[in-house]
Structure formats: C-alpha cells, structure tokens
Amino acid sequence: MAKAALFLTLALLPGFALAQTPKADLQCKGTGTDFVYDCTIRLSRGGKPLEGVQVTMGADMPSMPMAHNVKPVKAQPAKAPGEYKAKLDLEMLGVWAVKLRLAGPVRDQLILHYEFDSKGATPARR
C-alpha cells in the first residue's frame, strides 16, 4: 500500500509541477501613436486564472539582444480574473520577445514572441 502511494505520488509529481507553471496569453492593439500598444495579458496556472500577481512587462528584440531597452511597465489588474492591462512603448516594428516578470504569489519570468505591426501584435512564426 505504501509502495503504491509512493508510486502514485512520484507519477503525479511531474504533472503537478507542470500544472504549477504559469501560462500567459497576450493581446496588443496599436494606439495610433507610433510603436505604442495597449496590451491585455491573461495569466493562468493549471487552467485557472492567476490573480493577485504583480506583472511587469518589458521587451527585447531577439535579433538585437541588449541593444534595445524598452522601459518595463507595471501591468494593472483588469476586471476579468487573471487579466492585466499595460501600455507597451516599443522602439520599432518587428518581432519582439515580450518579457513578463511575475512577482508576489508567483515568481517567474515568461517570454512570449509576438510580431508587432501598426495595428497590433500576432504570435510570431518561428
């Protein structure tokens, strides 16, 4: 019985750990001002909205690492659970690696690749 319990625990551990990894989805729309976007971040963990997290959003250009220093902005919680809003001010159009730094109940950094054009952002093809 004890062996079975141990086996079950070990078997479930990876799944449990995976469920603990936060996931993020991003939607950004152009504001009409060059390179400035209104973004909505949806955070979840194990399929459930992740609330009460301090989210700081930054960005780096993968093809020119360290050459662009986008000012990180703190995202504000929106009405829907797990939803946060922030204004992202980039330097140019193209593929950006958006960095979401999470603090508070969850400490992590998520990287999302999006292609930004004048209208908004779409997940980058890679």
Binding site: P14, D34, G58, P62, P65, M66, P72, R107
Partner: protein, 295 residues
C-alpha cells in the same frame, strides 16, 4: 534604482564582455565579426549545465568558459592563418555556421515534468537558476559588474606586462615580432582562446539574466555591435570598449533622445569615428596623453 536603470546597466555590463573579447583580438591585429558565436556557446552551455544538470552558476560559468575557449581555439586553428579581411570573413562564416547549428540543436530533458533545453529555432527556455536562488535584479547587476571588474583588472595587468607588449607588437607588426623570436601563431591562438572564454562568460551571464536564449540572439548584428564598441571606444586601453558600450547603450539608448532612430545615429557615429579617429576615442595617443596629464 528603478527596473529600467537596472536593465540598462545590466545590458551595458553584459555586452561589455563581448566588446572586450572583440578588443582582445583587435589589439592582437585581428578583426573578428564572429564573437557572438562564442557568446552563444557560453549561453547554451551554461544554460544546459544549470537548467538540465543542476550545476551551480559559478561552476557552469567555468565550464562554459572552457568550452568557449576551446571553440574559438578550434576556429582559430585554420582561420588565423588568414590575414585582414580574409580572417574577418572567415570569423563571420564560422559565426553563421554556429548560429545554424544552434537552430539544429535539440537537447531537451524533463525537469520537474517540464521539457527543458535547446529546442532548435524555438529556443531554450527555463534557464531559471537566478530565479530559483532568489537573486534580485539589483544583486545580479552586482554579480555582472564584479566579474567585469575582475576581467578589466586582468586586462590592465596584462597590458602593463611583457605579455601585453608582445600582444601589441604582434598586432602592429607580426613580421617584426616573428623576427624578434615571438611565435606569432601561438600568441594569436592563445588570444583567440582567451577571447572565446571571455565572450562565453558574457553569454552565460546573459542567458541567466534573460532566462531564455534562441539562435537569433547570436545573429551578425551582435557581432557587428561588439566590434563597433571596441572601435568607437578605442584600442589604447581596455576601458575603450566599455566607453563604446556606454556611448551606444548608455547615452544613446539610456537618454532615448533618438527614439526609433538610434540605429541610424549609431551607424553614422561609427562611420564618422572611423574617419576622424580610426583607432577610437581612447586610442594609444589619447591614453599616452592622459597618462602624462594625470601621472
């Protein structure tokens, strides 16, 4: 200090390792457009060692530096026979080969139920040692600069030594150096290995700062920038490349005066400086003048 300032200063520190690596080869008379490859070797190797094998970062950094040194030594064996532009082109080709190899490199393992490791063009996520150790961005900035100070101190020591004089002699007139009994090829191979180790150290620190790397990070743009920093800052002292980085990332980017047009301004600045001061702002004459003035 706010997040933005910490971010800019960390980037200045990280890219300084790459600029110093390009500078080391420049003073030995070789212009490399391929230092980003060894930065990448360091980033991937260091990331694999901490994220997959659970090594502590200091050990992983040493391992990555050894691999970076070996990689540049092996690239140097055939390419250092070439001169001038031919060597520059060979390093560029080697760096592109390395980038394509990173794109083909898949080495993922399950860590806590999550696939971690290089996944070709999808990059390498989950380099989380710094997060797991609870190191704050300001503390990491301190680590980066402490290592940069160590690297600079080593440079200054070498530059004041007989080895430094030999290096500059090899760089300025290899035939004369050979006539004086210097094994030019051996010196250059040693320099290449040291430059590879230095670039790899920058790469390890970059990967752990970013938690993620991908082949595109090690594109030719990074190599061109690192070379440009050394050329703008000057070849008279190891402080030159740091000045080059500060001019671009610190002043141009930090001030955000040229928002969106920085790259154009940077390119123009490089062109102007190469005409006005071919050996950079802190060239040998300027360093000599400063020494006389302040000694």
């Amino acid at each position: 200090m706010d997040d933005y300032t910490i971010g800019v200063l960390t980037n200045v520190g990280l890219i300084s390792f790459l600029a110093l690596s390009a500078y080391l080869l420049l003073i030995a008379g070789e212009m490399s457009f391929g230092q980003q490859a060894f930065f990448g070797v360091g980033a991937y190797a260091g990331g694999i060692l901490t994220a997959i094998y659970g090594w502590p970062l200091p050990l992983a950094a040493l391992g990555a530096m050894a691999l970076g040194a070996l990689a540049q030594f092996l690239v140097g064996l055939p390419t250092l026979r070439l001169r001038g532009l031919y060597f520059a082109m060979a390093t560029l080709a080697a760096a592109e080969m390395a980038r394509i190899l990173f794109e083909l490199f898949h080495f993922q393992r399950l860590v806590d139920g999550e696939a971690v490791g290089p996944d070709g063009t999808q990059g390498f996520r989950g380099i989380r040692w710094v997060f797991e150790q609870g190191i704050e961005p300001l503390e990491y900035l301190g680590i980066v600069y402490a290592l940069l100070v160590v690297a600079l101190a080593l440079f200054l020591l070498v530059e004041r030594s007989r080895l430094g004089a030999t290096l500059r002699g090899v760089g300025e007139d290899p035939e004369l150096a050979a006539a004086l009994g210097v094994d030019v090829n051996r010196v250059k191979l040693g320099v290449a290995a040291a430059a590879g180790a230095l670039a790899a150290l920058g790469g390890v620190l970059y990967a752990h700062h970013n938690t993620y790397v991908e082949p595109r990070n090690f594109d030719i743009m990074l190599g061109v920038h690192s070379l440009a920093y050394a050329l703008i800052g000057g070849l008279g002292t190891a402080f030159g490349p740091l000045l080059g980085v500060l001019v671009d990332i610190g002043a141009l980017e930090g001030s955000r005066i040229f928002h969106g047009y920085r790259m154009i301004v940077f390119g123009g600045l490089v062109a102007l400086l190469l005409v006005w001061r071919p050996r950079g702002l802190l060239d040998e004459r300027m360093v000599q003048w400063l020494k006389q003035r302040f000694s």
